[in-house]
Symmetry: C2
Subunit: 593 residues, 2 copies
């Protein structure tokens, strides 16, 4: 939230101006004209942020309240109410997007600024894929509605149609407008963008809730099969027969598509949030350069190990899902198998991340402190979404240490949980350091200007916090630079020295050093690829039904059924998001190193 806008500067000038020119008129009249002027005119940026942020939060909370009421399965609030609310939100977002695109198209004469850090081609490509799967899901939903149309609410038919339209329009918006830096109608657009952010977040919540309910029902069914009894499974089946033959196929396939739909919405919402943070920002053009293509030579160990991990994961998934429904013996061995597999996997991931960090320690390099809302959000989301899985792990550890029963997987569960904590800890450090390190691009491509990146970064650190209002072309970097060699500051460890001009810079040492950095880079690239594959594996398992936390019974004994399912309903969606998000971040790392 430490943002500084060009707007403030404008206001400052306006303020000075108005107070100096109208000082001779009566104060009362002036106050009122000022009031009129300012109510219609520009609104301070910080306030506009709070105003729209509060609006969005409340929209989400209304949805949350409706979902909580539905979770109770009471007579008064039903799913139709939530779906109509969400449909209204989507329609509003559609109208805003249409308005936005129309206005943008009219302003073809003035070039819109873009933030190149906002997203990358491959992220948009991935999202388009997820959107396609979401569209298939909508088709299934429509088919389901057609089958049961005589006895279900019309909302169940209208909702997938609106959702499909919304998905198509949104993907178009992502491809052509997500990088825009909005500079006109700022306050209004802020509301539009934040509305889109929270609509997607609500759609995510809705998907997560449906998924959680599905798993909970499965879990209860298993428990009653094992003889725990008296747990009522709530069936949401309609009270009439399906008129087509495909209804059950549709409803069972839906749950294999949910994970993709859920990831789609949370990713879109994160990207729109970056767009919201960018509103009114002035992009620092010097840091807005595109990166060159990634080299992929020397990539063998990482991909091979990663593919091995992925293959074994699919094997484990199949064995687990088929075995866990059977007798107690098979069930326990399936769970043990899962934990042993997890321990091996996580141990490899920990050592990969740790060696990456060691390489960074050996190769000291300044961190890039230029402003980049996208990167900052990535960091915060990684950290924030780890919390869910950490809580789950610590609960498991407490349960293992506190329990009296001793199933065969008791201690493997403990080690697995400890490794989960450690692995996220190390991986977050690795990703954050990789994203914040300055890039050594142009090392061999431009032998004439080897020191440029450093100097560029130093000048961009010297840039004003409102980021680039001064056209850097008019400022020579050495004018803003001052030598401070007084001993006081030297003692406290903070000395600032002038960035040297290219001509003064020491001669490139890249040729002599080119060998070791390249080996390091290759190792880092291999680590990144390996971690990507591992994270995909660890996403696949819970997304498609391998959730031993439901099945092992240890935690349920210590925490009770309701508290433990509440923890899982909170933690598992966050963990799924964490894995997907770290795949995206690690891919970014892969391209940077």
């Amino acid at each position: 939230m430490v943002e500084h806008s060009g707007l403030d500067i404008m206001c400052l000038n306006k303020y000075c101006h108005s107070s100096s020119s109208s000082s001779s008129s009566e104060p009362d009249k002036k106050v009122f004209t000022k009031l009129k002027l300012n109510l219609s005119g520009d609104y301070p940026r910080k306030n506009a942020e709070i105003l729209s942020g509060q609006y969005g939060t409340n929209v989400l909370l209304i949805g949350a309240a409706l979902m909580l009421a539905i979770a109770h399965h009471g007579p008064s609030v039903r799913e139709e109410h939530l779906l109509s609310f969400v449909s209204c939100l989507m329609l509003l977002q559609l109208m805003w997007m249409m308005w936005y695109i129309l206005v943008r198209d009219r302003q073809t004469n003035s070039r819109t600024e873009k933030d190149v850090h906002a997203t990358t081609c491959w992220i948009r490509g991935g999202l388009t894929l997820l959107a396609l799967l979401s569209l298939i899901m909508d088709a299934f939903r429509i088919g389901y509605y057609v089958g049961y149309r005589s006895c279900v609410s019309a909302v169940l038919g209208v909702y997938p149609v609106i959702h499909a339209t919304h998905t198509i329009a949104q993907v178009h918006f992502l491809w052509f407008h997500i990088k825009d830096v909005i500079k006109s109608f700022e306050t209004f657009e802020r509301f539009g963008v934040i509305h889109a952010v929270f609509t997607n977040l609500l759609l995510w919540c809705n998907g997560v809730m449906s998924e959680a309910e599905h798993f909970l029902n499965n879990h209860k069914r298993r428990l009653s099969a094992l003889g725990y009894g008296n747990l009522t499974v709530v069936h949401s089946e309609p009270h009439c027969n399906c008129t087509t033959s495909t209804c059950s196929m549709f409803s069972s396939s839906l749950f294999y598509l949910y994970p993709f739909n859920v990831e789609y919405h949370i990713f879109v919402s994160a990207m729109l949030f970056v767009m919201w943070k960018n509103i009114g920002r002035t992009i620092d053009l010097s840091s807005n350069r595109k990166r060159q293509a990634t080299k992929t030579q020397g990539l063998t160990v990482g991909p091979v190990l990663g593919l091995l991990a992925l293959a074994s994961t699919i094997g484990i998934l199949v064995v687990y899902v088929t075995h866990v429904e059977e007798s107690l013996q098979t069930r326990q061995s399936a769970i043990s198998m899962f934990y042993i597999y997890g321990i091996v996997m996580l141990a490899f991931m920990c050592s990969a991340g740790a060696s990456g960090l060691l390489i960074y320690r050996a190769d000291h390099m300044p961190l890039d402190t230029s402003k980049n809302p996208s990167r900052q959000l990535d960091t915060e989301l990684l950290f924030g979404s780890s919390i869910g899985s950490w809580l789950m792990s610590w609960c498991s550890i407490v349960a293992v240490l506190g329990t009296d029963s001793s199933p065969p997987y008791r201690w493997t569960n403990l080690i697995y949980s400890l490794l989960i904590v450690l692995e996220k800890y190390i991986q977050n450090l690795f990703v954050v350091e990789s994203l914040y390190r300055q890039q050594e691009d142009g090392e061999s491509e431009d032998p004439e200007l080897p020191a440029t990146p450093e100097i560029f970064s130093v000048t961009s650190s010297l840039a004003p916090p409102y980021d680039g209002i001064i056209n850097r072309a008019y400022v020579t970097p050495d004018r803003t630079c001052v030598n401070m060699e007084n001993s006081d500051q030297e003692e406290s460890g903070q000395v600032y020295r002038c960035p040297r001009k290219p001509s003064e810079a020491p001669l490139p040492v890249g040729n002599k050093e080119s060998e070791p950095p390249n080996i390091k880079r290759q190792i880092l690239k291999n680590i990144a690829v390996f971690l990507i594959m591992c994270n995909i594996s660890l996403w696949i398992l819970p997304a498609f039904g391998c959730r031993p936390q439901y099945d092992n019974g240890l935690e349920q004994e210590t925490f009770g059924f309701s508290i433990w399912t509440a923890v899982l309903n909170f933690a598992i969606p966050l963990n799924l998001f964490y894995r997907m998000h770290s795949v995206a971040s690690l891919f970014e790392v892969f391209r940077r190193v």
Copy 2:
């Protein structure tokens, strides 16, 4: 998290230096010496933040896992385990504080930098009061332990002793060290401070849980008295007789002291968090000036209305608490009374906040964008803690609209809930705008230098993001300033003009304008005082047992007992914190305007 440290600059220089000087030696050997050097040496700031932040989060999550296990009242994890864990954390914090104070005392020759924004005298005074009440609570706990010492765990006796020591040491730390900007052993101190932050947060969670359990037991007791039956009240009374005559007195008084203890810990944790954010920061001395004393003339309407609100609140509290335990009729009338009182109160608060915002709109002034972690945290906490009460309100609204039963307070509940949402919305906007507006201090005191604050703020916006490493005394502001009058930028609405030097600035208009701003100031001061009193009132009510959300039955019907109590256990502590925190923020507003 957009932070920029002086450290990075050092590293940059070191990097350039080492790569230019040692380019002739063998690469392998160099890598290893570098590795050794960097492992022991300074660690990049961003990483140190993530490293320590993750540590703190995990400490809190271990505590949360223990608390969840205790909430189940199972046989394996008992309260003693949590208390011993928390005691260990407090001992660790005590050791760190002792170490810190000793090291600081030895370095008497070098002056420690202070961040004057970090806290104010009156906040520390208030915290000392709260700490005193916490000490009384510890005394009661020790008394309780002495009475039951034959049959309770020794941990229950050791814990209050450690807590009392911890409280005394921490208050000392708050008075003499909380403003320190740490510059030595940064990574280690980061761990120390974040450990202190999360220890206090865990103590807050623990207090909140005990309080929630107490209220839930009361609620269940009332429900069974009304004949709802079959709710088991869990008694945590020891299984032996008290050897002294004061045990029941101690245990019942404890619950009147809990609210103060809880607020104490959360406030300390927020202040320590600001200290953590300040580590390694270089304070911009120009913005580090102290404010002059506040004038209190013309303060009548606000305090009078506020006192009226406070007095009526205490009346309502007494009537509510005595009436709600009685027959259904009296109970319903008590609840109705509460809602009508709440509507009147909130309507006044909304109009006060809205008029404050209107005054700001009439008096356009640039926002202060200088860096101030304390203020930023205040804003985020206000916004974040509103979420609890917003969720509760939206749930009430859903319940009122969805329910079939129609108690007399149905529609007053609706209006009350809507006003709660609106009031927090407006109050947050008002507080944030007040804290971010530039101060017009020195308006009449320094007629020679009226434009200084503006110029200072412009130069500090031009300051490098790592905030003040360049000694501003060496830089003349006009050197960094460039006129850009090219029409392209003019169109997009972002023109930057040079800040004028004091000599060029327009002559002060303060003398002619001095009347209206003073009236505005007086109105704003009255609004702030009134809002302070109202927020204290709205804190007192839930803190001392007036929680109609438990008693009115509407929401419970729609959401079910378990979901609704979960929502309340999440929302009420956040709401209590919100009220206390907004009192502190509004007091800051009162001093600024």
